[in-house]
Subunit: 233 residues, 2 copies
Amino acid sequence: MSIVSDSAHLNDLTVVKSVSLTSALEKELERLILTGELEPGVRINEIHLSNRFGTSRGPIREATRSLEAKGLVEVVRNRGVFVRRLSVEDAVEIYDVRAALFGQAGRLLAERMTDGLLAELTRMVDEMDAVAERGSFDDYYPLNLGFHNLIVSSCGNRTLLAEYHRFVNKLHLFRARALVQGGGLAVSNREHRAMLEALASGDGERAQVTHWRHVALAKRRLIAAVDGHARND
Amino acid sequence: MSIVSDSAHLNDLTVVKSVSLTSALEKELERLILTGELEPGVRINEIHLSNRFGTSRGPIREATRSLEAKGLVEVVRNRGVFVRRLSVEDAVEIYDVRAALFGQAGRLLAERMTDGLLAELTRMVDEMDAVAERGSFDDYYPLNLGFHNLIVSSCGNRTLLAEYHRFVNKLHLFRARALVQGGGLAVSNREHRAMLEALASGDGERAQVTHWRHVALAKRRLIAAVDGHARND
DNA sequence: GTAATGATAACTGTCAACAGATTGATGGAT
DNA sequence: ATCCATCAATCTGTTGACAGTTATCATTAC
């Protein structure tokens, strides 16, 4: 495992001196973890990292403590820090939290909806329908992500937005994540339409229910996929 | 290594060598912040702390980075770390998140309710009623806290539990928090009874709504209290 | 061949020191 | 009296080094 490779990303950041080395390192490590370049379970060697980034171990330790609080890594005394590995149970728990947050975002958004936003969201769902017919998951995924992000970003609660992102990010640590991403494109987008209608109606309660249910059903699909996969093993 | 510090709490922890100095410091700092011994807005001086606890600055810096990720302090480059200060808007946002999480906890709990737990929760509400009649807030507050904690702790989702606590803790950073704590004891406990009935019925949807509404109404009381206070100024 | 053992290497925990930035004070000019 | 420049003190950012712990691996005994 030769971690001795140059990181262009970090160099970009270190040029800007207004950002501390620690936070730059933290962002870079987070990127490495979320993109999967640092796989769940692997140990993060402080000395290797300090060589790789040309810094001392101090800032790296600070960055990893921050990542630990964010739940992306695990620190074991005298043994090191490990990229956190999510079990199926962890992932299911996260879906519950995410459903709660997303439902709340839907409620808030319904109560402050604008015509322009509704048009944009409708356009996205139409586009997803078109892509879903072709069954192209690689095209569907970013659209789906953007749709959800736009909803939560527009709900007017920055705390909620930050928390939502935290949990969506954490799902990247779940190895079997790819299982659930494949199926049910058309089904999922039908739920999107129900959400749209609720948002358009301005009924917060109804919006909360539809948004909550959308994630709850995704959780069901995850569980079903995992069970199916386990049976096939 | 003689740890010459005024903090009995810290000494308790350092005796156990399985816990790193950093995490012991973090717990202690968190305690100081949540109890208000370190007030919102004040700067945390690394050198003073290292003298106080008899350590070097390294572990303290690591602990503060962790607290930053938890949202309890704010780090400003080259200026230091400050105990985070929550605005009214921040507090309101947190209530929304808390409502979402608490509602979800109610749903999960309703679907796994036991007779013993229901009896215990009922007992607590009865006790709160008795205390509320006397209008004794100091007695009501810990009971109320315990009631909510028992619900979230019993819902079976540890991730949700951790997040819920995170946000309840963050509310300690809100200076005007005391405003909302005083009023509506009897009203609040009437909402508790509605929650109890929903939990007893085993209807997850209904439990989620009642639990969500309980926090949403608390948020309204907070806003009303803040507005009233502003008018009286 | 396998398991216990002990030496060695590698790594983390902590510390003390240096470099750079910020703050506040001092003194002079207007 | 006010404003600005300069400077000293204080604090943070970062580094390199040392101590203690864990992991590795060859050796030995069975």
